[in-house]
């Protein structure tokens, strides 16, 4: 029964995702006649962009699911432990030092390095000598490190010249422009591997949400599980941030919306969130690049603009507590 229902949910979500991709493929700054569709470089660009949106949306949503489960906090999202400011700091230092133009890899590499260093720092700060990492310490350490790094980022923004500042701000707002197949391949490889592992181990997330003590009683190696999921979520988020900057709200509202629709069972929630997140980002990017085409608006603006009111609507509508 459960298995059957899951497949129906996945099928419906896949059809919606396919529809979104179809719409997105034909929407854009330039009108392309169907006859020229497959010869034109424009379609290659759009396909690359849609693929990036799918992987980024899936990665951010599933990271959100993981962080909400591990930290047992409904406000948790992929950027809560400072990945965003770490990546932002890395990228802005690269931009201010003029490295951004050196290679197509410069910004993604520095952003990824910044994100992973931050996560490592937060994890080390929260870890007790016994090797235990209490989630509240982790959360606090993450929020404080996030704030501290943001202030350094703001300092860099305030002392940089106007054209550098422009680039930093644009980068921070998030953008799904992709120019290089290699970058797309690498980012999607990281996300795909992490996603597969999370889907396979998704039942452990169910056990984790019961609380760490019950989970330990059920025979789960709590610290190891925490560490693994923490690493998977961070890797996915860092890869996404490196490829397309900061895209807010996806990791917060998609897990909540999906949980509201199909319940809190992580065995379904993980994959369903990945599909829903992918759809949301494909559509949001479609809006971002067509609404005032050929000018683009930052995708973070679209996700937050749609996501904010939508989240409030869900909160208001919520009759029973769906949060376990």
């Amino acid at each position: 029964m459960h298995k059957q229902k899951s497949w129906i949910i996945y099928l419906v979500l896949l059809v919606i995702l396919a529809g979104a991709c179809g719409v997105s493929l034909f929407a854009g700054a330039v009108r392309v006649p169907i006859s020229e569709m497959f010869e034109s470089g424009i379609i290659q660009l759009r396909i690359a962009r849609i693929l990036l949106a799918i992987f980024a949306g899936a990665a951010l949503s599933v990271s959100g699911v993981i962080f909400q489960a591990l930290l047992r906090n409904p406000l948790a999202e992929p950027y809560i432990l400072g990945v965003s400011s770490g990546a932002g700091l890395g990228a802005s230092i690269a931009i201010v030092l003029g490295l951004g133009t050196l290679s197509i890899w410069a910004l993604p590499a520095t952003a990824f390095a910044g994100a992973m260093l931050t996560i490592f720092l937060v994890y080390r700060l929260a870890r007790e000598p016994s090797g235990v990492v209490p989630v509240y310490t982790l959360l606090l350490a993450g929020v404080i490190v996030n704030a501290a790094l943001s202030s350094i980022l703001m300092f860099i923004v305030s002392v940089s010249s106007s054209d550098e500042l422009h680039n930093v701000v644009w980068w921070l707002l998030g953008n799904l422009q992709i120019f290089d197949w290699q970058l797309l391949k690498l980012a999607s490889f990281v996300v795909a591997v992490c996603l597969t592992v999370v889907v396979i181990l998704s039942n452990d997330l169910n056990i984790m949400t019961m609380g760490e003590e019950p989970a330990a009683h059920l025979g789960l190696n709590v610290e190891r599980t925490k560490k693994l999921f923490f690493l998977l979520a961070s890797l996915m988020t860092a890869a996404t941030v490196a490829a397309c900057g900061l895209i807010g709200f996806v990791g917060l509202i998609i897990p909540h919306s999906v949980r509201l629709a199909i319940g809190p069972d992580h065995r379904r929630l993980v994959f369903a969130s990945a599909l829903a997140g992918a759809t949301f980002l494909v559509l949001a990017d479609g809006v971002a690049r067509t609404i005032i085409a050929p000018t683009e608006i930052p995708i973070g603006v679209v996700t937050t603009f749609i996501g904010g009111p939508f989240f409030l609507f869900l909160l208001k509508r919520k009759k029973r507590s769906y949060w376990c």
Binding site: A29, V30, S103, W170, R289, P294
Partner: protein
């Protein structure tokens, strides 16, 4: 007595040498900044500039020694860095500004009401200059020249610049609009940002005999969809950012779907272009226009001067 006379002679000689040296020093000093007295005694004028292009204009007008304050962004000419800074572009520290006791404040933006009040109470004359294009920059130069008491010099400099622009315009005289090279200017590569029709850089491209492919966009610095560039199909791509541009041509050529663009097929990525010349609405625009026009119309400097 004789000894004393000789002593006197020594003193005279030393005095003569000193006078000579100081005369030489005075003249060598004035050689750097030709003495242009326009009949207005403004040698004690204290000026604060709140934008890098304004600072450059003040240097061109030779009144840099009266410039007592600048912004952090005013880094050209290099000597500007020796002048005290009053803060970043658009975020001047008002206390610092007032402490410099300027007589004249030249700024690109109208100050806020409170700030305006403080400035006028302190008896500081305010000059707001916002050039929308190259002609506007020349007009500004004259306006500033008048305000600092050098209108004659300003006129002369402007006439020279105008003459240079006229020479440049001869390069593409008679060419049909459709024959002019279509130019894509890249301000940022990640994300892709170009210049719209209202940017003064659009005017720079036009005066250099090019057509800005993004001229139809009303924003000054729009972030644009890369697929639009494929449709525009520019003849020349000019990456205009600071930083290392070593591999930029390869990067641009390797972009997904861009291989069919004319500029890329014909290798017309002008990565050596000194973008800093045209990023500010200052006197260096003229040099930038000259270099860009020579590149677009493929004639050496000598060739077109002779014509």
């Amino acid at each position: 007595m004789a000894v004393k006379k000789q002593d006197n002679l020594k003193y005279y000689m030393i005095a003569t040498v000193l006078v000579a040296v100081s005369i030489v020093m005075i003249f060598s000093g004035t050689n750097q900044t030709p003495p242009v007295d326009d009949g207005v005694n403004n040698s004690n004028l204290r000026i604060v500039s709140l934008a890098p292009n304004i600072t450059e204009m003040l240097f061109v007008l030779g009144v840099q020694d009266r410039l007592v304050g600048r912004t952090d962004c005013c880094d050209y000419p290099p000597a500007a860095k020796n002048i005290e800074s009053v803060g970043g572009l658009g975020i001047a520290n008002i206390e610092k500004l007032l402490s410099l006791k300027p007589d004249l404040l030249i700024t690109p933006n109208e100050p806020e009401k409170e700030v305006y009040k403080l400035i006028s109470q302190a008896g500081i004359k305010l000059l707001v200059v916002q050039a929308p294009n190259v002609q506007g920059m020349l007009d500004e130069l004259f306006e500033i020249g008048q305000a600092v008491g050098r209108p004659e010099l300003a006129k002369r400099v402007i006439a020279e610049m105008q003459a240079e622009l006229d020479v440049v315009a001869r390069l593409y005289k008679g060419a049909d609009h459709d024959e002019l090279p279509r130019v894509f200017i890249e301000i940022s590569n990640d994300p892709l940002v170009t210049i719209g029709g209202r940017s003064f850089i659009n005017d720079v491209v036009t005066r250099a005999g090019g057509v800005n492919v993004a001229a139809g966009i009303s924003e000054s610095y729009p972030c644009i969809n890369p697929e639009k560039v494929i449709e525009w199909d520019p003849d020349v791509i000019i990456p205009c950012y600071m930083g290392n541009k070593e591999n930029i041509a390869e990067q641009i050529s390797g972009r997904i779907g861009w291989d069919g663009i004319s500029a890329i097929r014909s290798g017309q990525i002008y990565s050596d272009f000194p973008g800093d010349l045209i990023m500010r609405g200052g006197p260096r625009l003229i040099e930038g226009i000259k270099i860009l026009a020579q590149h677009l119309h493929g004639k050496s400097n000598k060739e077109y001067v002779v014509r």
